[in-house]
């Protein structure tokens, strides 16, 4: 089992959700994050003084899937969220050693 974390541009979330459900992903968890990277932030003004905002709003998607699905999920994420412009984001793959569905106590494959 792997956990796939993707950091994407917020307005791409819906496309991503649709893409993943289309390939049979049953669930995912998202959160509001802020990103720092090649895509620079911008300067704002408050009552006459300028300040930098270096962190850009992003959305993080976490989806845990069985290992054999990983490549497909990654492909789907990339194609659903790629705009070709700086700041599109990243996908990271992390190992997962176990999963439990709280409602039923089911484990691993059955849990997701």
């Amino acid at each position: 089992m792997k956990k796939i974390e993707a950091i994407i541009k917020p307005f791409k979330l819906e496309d991503l959700k649709n893409g993943l459900t289309a390939i049979g992903v049953k669930g995912m968890t998202i959160s509001e994050v802020k990103g720092f990277g090649r895509q620079k932030g911008h300067s704002e003004i408050f009552r006459g003084a300028e300040y930098r905002v270096d962190f850009v709003p992003k959305v993080k998607i976490e989806v845990v899937v069985e290992t054999d699905l990983v490549e497909k999920v990654v492909q789907t994420i990339v194609s659903a969220t790629n705009t070709g412009s700086i700041g599109d984001g990243k996908v990271f793959i992390l190992p997962v050693e176990g999963a439990v569905r709280i409602r039923t106590g089911e484990r691993d494959a059955d849990a997701i």
Binding site: L13, E44, I45, F46, P57
Partner: protein, 442 residues
């Protein structure tokens, strides 16, 4: 104590300038003094009412901000603030003269630019009257900001607000209301009834809103490729509700203040205004409940405003019972109208077209239908003529104005800016930096 004495003297002095202050009062001096006290009451009432109408600017700002997204909140506030400021200056320079100056043709006034009707020492009534009129002009102007919200270039909006306050609003206004001061227009001469401005102020703003919304096109994401409506929920409904309460309060200056005199007529106008608003909210709520299965808050708020707009024309010449009927119909009308404009993909984020345009028209018609003194085909005809003329003038000039802005400096921000929000794009600001935004309504 010395104060009261002083007053008597003052009164006598004003009243009978020929005598010295210590002359004993006469029947004539008393009569003049009475008229003077009444005049003072008129000034106080007219100006207090003007202050209440001014406060409607805050109400519009709150409603429009509450009904739109957090990323555009600063921009909407700025538009509502600056259109009043631009309007004040341009109405002072041009608008008031065109609307209320001496008007030989019946089409616009030609005297009183830059408030030149007032000379120190002269009768200050022109100033009290101007103050009451400028807040009306600004109301017409600010209505539009809601319909054009979340996508309009700030600089273009400033220019729009200047033009409306200087020319578009006052010229039509001179046709219907010029006779309230030095002017006199063709429409009022026909007996057109629009006591406080369902047509002159609200339809005017509503139809320019329609022109603006069409000229701009819908916000990105409002309608899906397959034509479905994808609502963009407002970011702060409590603020919107506060705005509606403030507008309701302001309307107690807007309608009764239009007497510009402290007299007994204001009582019925207060009652009618209140009952129409209440009825509008209730029927809008019921209509929404029936249609959508839930008592939709946004529609109830629009219902209040619809009732207020609809009673504005007839508030002084219909009975309280008629006011309830007028408001009740307005409440249903606004719900249907909002749905209609969404169906034809005219994106009006706050419902300005339905609230002010449609119900301004309805209210003007109703003022003829429910007239206490009885109605007539001719009366209805004149009301319809006024409604149609207002539509033609304001929608037409609005379309032209926005087309010119489009061709020249541009009317709409870039898609990138629209996505990121106008607060940053136009003002380099963030409305709520201390709160974690939720970008994932989805």
């Amino acid at each position: 104590m010395k104060k009261k004495l002083l007053l008597v003297l003052l009164l006598l002095f004003w009243a009978v300038p020929v005598f010295a202050g210590d002359e004993p009062p006469t029947v004539e001096s008393n009569a003049a003094a009475i008229a003077l006290v009444q005049t003072h009451a008129d000034y106080v009432w007219t100006l207090v009412a003007a202050a209440l109408v001014f406060f409607m600017q805050a109400g519009f700002a709150m409603v429009e901000t509450g009904f739109t997204r957090a990323k555009n909140a600063v921009n909407i506030m700025m538009k509502n603030l600056m259109d009043f400021c631009m309007g004040s200056i341009f109405y002072w320079a041009f608008g008031f003269a065109l609307m209320f100056g001496v008007n030989s043709t019946g089409f616009f006034g030609t005297t009183g630019f830059f408030l030149s009707d007032f000379t120190p020492g002269g009768d200050p009534w022109v100033l009290a009257f101007w103050m009451f009129q400028v807040v009306f002009a600004a109301t017409a102007a600010t209505i539009v900001s809601g319909a054009m919200a979340e996508r309009t270039k700030f600089v273009s909006y400033l220019i729009y607000s200047a033009i409306v306050s200087a020319f578009i609003y006052p010229i039509f206004g001179s046709w219907a209301w010029g006779g309230l001061f030095h002017g006199g227009g063709w429409l009022e001469k026909l007996g057109f009834i629009d006591f406080a401005g369902s047509t002159v102020v609200h339809s005017m703003g509503g139809w320019i809103s329609l022109a603006g919304a069409i000229a701009l096109g819908p916000r990105i994401g409002k309608y899906t490729k397959d034509g479905k409506v994808k609502p963009i929920p407002g970011h702060n409904l409590p603020l919107a509700a506060l705005g509606v309460f403030i507008l309701w309060l302001g309307w107690f200056g807007f309608n009764p203040g239009s007497t510009t005199a402290a007299n007994k007529d204001i009582a019925m106008i207060f009652v009618n205004t209140n009952l129409a608003a209440a009825a509008g909210a209730i029927t809008a709520l019921i209509a929404a409940w029936k249609l959508f299965g839930k008592p939709d808050a946004g529609m109830a708020l629009n219902g209040v405003l619809a009732g207020l707009v609809a009673i504005t024309a007839g508030c002084a010449n219909v009975t309280p019972l008629s006011s309830i009927i007028i408001g009740a119909i307005a409440g249903v009308l606004v719900v249907l109208s909002v749905i209609f404009f969404d169906k034809i993909h005219v994106d009006d984020p706050v419902g300005a077209i339905s609230v002010h345009g449609m119900n301004g028209a309805w209210g003007t018609l109703a003022a003829g239908i429910f007239n206490i003194g009885g109605t007539s085909a001719g009366m209805i005809g004149v009301q319809l003529l006024g409604i149609a003329t207002c539509f033609a003038w304001s929608f037409g000039t609005g379309m032209i104005l926005f087309a010119i802005l489009k061709k020249t400096i541009g009317l709409r921000v870039t898609p990138e800016e629209e996505m990121e929000g106008l607060d940053f794009g136009e003002h380099g600001a963030t409305a709520y930096p201390d709160f974690q935004a939720s970008t994932t309504l989805s």
